[in-house]
Structures are given as C-alpha cells and as structure tokens.
C-alpha cells in the first residue's frame, strides 16, 4: 500500500513540524508574557509624579496581598504616603490595564475589518463607530449634563457608537451596498455625517468647556478606574474570542467573496456579523478611551509583516502588539509634558506613523 510506504517517512517529519510549531507558540506566549509584564512595570513606575521604584513595587505587593497573612505580618515596610499608593494603585495600574485592553481590542477589530472588506485601510474608525462614540460623549459633556450620574458620558459614548453602526447598516441596506468596497464607502459617508454633527455640538457648546472634548476627539486613558475595567475585559474576551474562532473564515474572506462562498461561508452575513462584533468592541473601548487613531489601522499590518497572513496568528499577535503599543504610547503621553497630559492620539499618530515608515523601509 502506498500509504504504508509513506507512513514511516511522514510520521517523524510531521511530528517534528508539530514540535517546531509548539515550540514557536510557546516562545510567542512566553515572550509576550515577559514583554507585557515589563511594559506594565514601566507603566506603573513612571508618571507626572516621581515615586521611587522600591515604593512602587512595595505598593503593588502590598495591595495584591492586602488582608492576607503576609500583609498582616508586616512583611512590607510601608515607606510610602497614601497619596503615592493612590497614584500607583488607583491611577497608574488601572490605566495601564485599560491601555492594554483598548489597544488589543482596536487592533483585533482592525485586523478583522481589513479581512472582510479586503481594504488595507479599514480600521475601527472607518465605519463611523468612533465618530458616533465621540458624538454621544460630546452631547453629554456640553449639552445634557450628567443626567445618568457618573457613567453618563461613557454610556452615551457607547450608545452613540452603536447608533452610528446601526446607521451604517441601515444606509447600506437602503443603498443596496453589501459588497466590501461599497460598505466601506457607506461607512466613510456616515462617519463624515456623524462627525459634522459632533462639530455642530462643539460649535454650539460653551467654548470654555470644549477642552474636555479634546479627549474624545484625540483619545486618552484618564478615565480608567478599577470598577470600570470589567466592561472592556468582558467584551474583549467574548467578542475577541469570537473573531479568533472565525479565523478560518477571515482567511477565506481575504481571498475573495467568490472563494469564500465556495467554501460555504455566507459572505454578506458574515461580513455584517464581523462589523457588529467590531462595533461592539470599538464602542466599549471608545466609551472609556475616546477616539484613539492609528492602533487599529497599523498594528495588524505590523503583525502580518511578522507572522504572515493567517488570522489564527494575526489576531492574537495584533492584540499583543496593540496592547503593548498603547501602554507605551500612554507612558509617553503621561510623561512628555507632565504635569499636563498629552492626548494619546497625538502620540500614537506621531510615534506610530514614523515607526511604521521605518518598518516599511526595512522590509
């Protein structure tokens, strides 16, 4: 039998490849974890206020073991002020984690939108999602007041993002635009309309309050609080997990609608599903971080340059790079002009853009 002939030869070859793949995956996971831990450590260590490194780690260790036997034994020599503890634990730590999640979420959305639209310029802002979020936030900040309490602004931002997505879907149905490129055009059109609406709100608002709007237009992570982190985490795990589980379909979509149809993928429906899931992720991220450009657009390209086009790898690597990049950008935003905060959108655009040009030239 031919198979019997092939068997002894192919068995060790396959397992060697499998072993290599496993080793590669382990290296990625280990490297990612180390990089993440390192970046997070830097993020909690630096900021507008200088706190000695020993205090920073003392505070973190103290908080993590809070109430446990270790803490009760007085293992930690508490040498820091309560203000310093609040800065490290309640300001920097949740902020770094939020940056991680927002970066990961936006990069995954960018990667999957680029696949289903077959447009390398597709990003979370493309479909008016971010503009809708900004519109909602600006409405609350300049016009309605905090009628729903402290969560009014993120809530309205989220509702605005979903409303803009609904608008894109309605218009695409109205204009009978279900193909990839026409959907992109609808997104761009809706985005402009919603942005114009947001600018009308800014124009009508109190000029002395419009500085708060910059945050929603250029992004920032200053809203991070422990109690808010659950929302981006849940949506990232569920929606990001769904996207990853459909990696094979995303791969097929990049080849073309016809090929994908041949493979049994309901192309139009899958595209809309990806849009809606992307909108959900972006909506939640925008609600807490404002419009942060660049990450969702460029990070997937960087990931593809490094690990190739398979979305099983592109999605997790994009998530990792997106998260790391945004934490790093936030460190820069917090320290470059201290005690003032730079809008993070400026940092991602400037630093990221230059980095990407350098990367393009190198490859």
């Amino acid at each position: 039998m031919p198979t019997a002939h092939a068997h002894p030869a192919s068995e060790p070859r396959l397992s060697a490849r499998a072993r290599r793949r496993l080793r590669g995956r382990l290296a990625w996971i280990l490297g990612g974890a180390v990089l993440t831990a390192l970046t997070l450590s830097i993020a909690v260590s630096v900021g507008a206020v200088g706190i000695p490194l020993t205090s920073v780690w003392g505070i973190v260790a103290h908080k993590l073991t809070h109430g446990s036997a270790l803490a009760a034994d007085g293992v930690f020599d508490v040498s820091w002020s309560k203000g310093q503890a609040a800065i490290v634990w309640d300001i920097r730590f949740p902020r770094a984690l939020l940056a991680m999640m927002v970066g990961a979420g936006l990069a995954m959305v960018g990667a999957s939108l680029q696949a289903v639209t077959r447009n390398p310029l597709a990003d979370p802002h493309l479909l008016g999602i971010s503009a809708g979020g900004a519109f909602g936030a600006i409405l609350a900040l300049l016009h309605t007041g905090l009628f729903l309490g402290l969560l009014t602004v993120p809530l309205l931002a989220f509702v605005g993002a979903l409303a803009a997505t609904a608008l894109v879907l309605a218009v695409s149905r109205f204009a009978e635009a279900t193909t990839a490129d026409r959907l992109v055009l609808v997104g761009v059109a809706v985005s402009f309309v919603v942005m114009a609406g947001a600018n009308v709100l800014i124009f009508l608002g109190d000029p002395r309050a419009t500085h708060t709007v910059v945050f929603w237009m250029l992004g920032g992570l200053g809203l991070a609080q422990w109690s808010h982190l659950a929302y981006p985490l849940v949506v990232l795990v569920l929606c990001g997990g769904w996207l990853w589980s459909r990696s094979g379909d995303l791969n097929a979509m990049t080849v073309g609608d016809e090929t994908a149809t041949t493979l049994g993928i309901p192309v139009a429906r899958f595209r809309l599903m990806t849009f809606c899931v992307g909108a959900l992720i972006t909506g939640v991220m925008v609600a807490f971080s404002g419009m942060i450009g660049f990450v969702g657009l460029i990070v997937p390209h960087v990931a593809r340059l490094i690990v190739g086009g398979d979305h099983r790898r592109v999605l997790p690597v994009s998530a990792l790079f997106g998260g790391l990049f945004l934490v790093a950008a936030d460190i820069a935003a917090r320290t470059l002009m201290a005690p003032e905060d730079m809008p993070i959108g400026l940092v991602t655009g400037l630093v990221g853009g230059v980095f990407f040009i350098w990367l393009l030239r190198r490859r």
Binding site: A48, G83, I91, V153, R208, A209, T212, F215, Q225, A338
Partner: protein, 326 residues
Amino acid sequence: MTARFSTVTQLLAAGVMAASLAPMAQAETTVESCNRSVTFDAPPQRAISNDVNLTEMMLALGLADRMVGYTGISGWKTLDPVMRAGVAELPELSAKYPSKEVLIGADADFFFAGWNYGMKVGGEVTPETLAPFDIKVYELTESCIHIGEKAKVSMDDMYNDLLNLGRIFAVEDTAKALVAGYKDELAAFAKDRAEASDPLRVFVYDSGEDTPFTAGKYAMPTALIEAAGGSNIMDDLEKSWATVTWEAVVERNPEVIVIVNYGSVTAEEKRAFMRSNPAFAEIDAVKNDRFVTLEYVEATPGPRNIRAIKTLATSFDAARTDAVSN
C-alpha cells in the same frame, strides 16, 4: 409711542451728556491694553461688552447709558436678577461670541472683551479686524497671557481694568473710589480674621474627568485664593487655564477644592465625581469634604471677585479650625 418717547429722551440725555463732557473730551486719553496703546479722542458713546464679568465691570462704573448692548452671555450662562436689572434697557446683541457684523451693525465705537472672552486669537473679531470700522477694543488684563508675556495674575489685574475703563470713559473718580472701596472692604475683612499661618493648599476644579481643567499661574482664581490666604497648588503651571494630570493633584494633596460652577455639569456633580473616585480618597480635601463652589462670574475678573475672596476665606478658616480640632 413709548418707544419714540424713550428714543427722544435718550437723544436728549446723550446731548446733555455730550455737552457736559465737552471740555474733558478735548484731552486725549491713552491706555495700555495688553501689548497695545489705545488712544481715545473722546469717551466712547456706543460701547459693547462681552461676557458676564466684563459687563458687570461696566455696570459697576455706571456706564450702562454709554452702551448699546452686550454679547456672549445667555448662550451658555444666565444673568442673575441683579445684573438683569442693570442691563434691562440693553439688548443682547449676540447670545454667544459676536461676529464682526454684529458689532458693526450695532454701530459700536468700543468693545470691551478679552482673549477667550469674546475674541479668539486668529479669529474674526480682534482689535486689528475691528480697527478699520473705528471700533476700539480694550482687552481684559487677565486674558493678555494668551497673546504675550505677562506678570502673574493678581487682584491688581481687575483693579487695573476698572481704572483703565474709568479713564477711557472719563469716570476716573468713580473708578478710583470703587477700587479704593474694594481694597478697604478686603482690608477690613482681613482684620477680623485670625492670623493665618501657612497658606492652605487649594486646587481649582473647573471641569473634565479624564484630566482636570484647572486654573494656572495666570488665571484669576490664583489671585483670589492668594488674597484669601491660600495658594493654588498649580500656580507653577505657566498657563491661564489648562489641563493637568490627576497624579499631580493627588501628589500635591490639596486641603480645599474650589469648584467653578457653570455649564451643563453642575457643581454637585463635579463634587460627586471627586468623591466617588477611589484614587482621590486620600486627598485631604476629599477626606474632610472641603469643597467650595465659585460661580463663573465670581471666578473670572470682575466686581464679584471681592465676594469670592470672602467666600474662600470663610471656608479656608473653617478648614483650618477643623485641622486644629482633629
């Protein structure tokens, strides 16, 4: 009928006034406005002021009858009854920042405004763009920082504006008396207070949740806080109004927080925000619930600064007494 009658009386009044001012009008008056010298051949007769605080300076000097209107108030703020009575006869020419047309259309000869108080750097309405239409501009001293260098803000900025307006409108005696009165009032108030030791650490919270918008070295609240025996924790910020990081606020640990009240987010909501965020729990002012609210008119340069100083001083004293009894 009544309208015509009132026009006639206004004309008559203007005539009488012009006659009585005639000898003074001979003398030219030159005042410094930010980086410019502005020369007036005669006191303006058709003035317009922008924003509540600036309009109130005009009213305090009794200049309502030299005005043809005011701008930039009802678009985002409300006039309280006192001011409403003061400008009852005058139309609001523009609810928000006026366009050039509005000022020219009202046949104005004078515009009292400031940078970010009715005028924007590079905007449509500036001293330069109004000059061809013979509309002279006097700029709010506090706002000069937006177009050039300036000394740190102090109560003198406000006094300076009143005295300059007094010279421009030939009511110098009224202006001097007013300023002297304010100074006496504050001196008398200070005498009744206990001897203050170190200045209290004070943070001005205007707005913003991701990052706080606050008053820096050149914004009026810094002067008010210092006059009341405190120091603005952000007085090293070389800006008028600016955003800072929450980290810096926590680090500098203010003992009192001053909330500026205006716009759609209420002072109570701003206070609730500060109290709800665990990162701020260890700030002295939050721990001891030491919040003071200043209305927009009180926190920007104008006659109500005097009351604002008293409000601040009272709450500072209470904070000090607390600290001692704890």
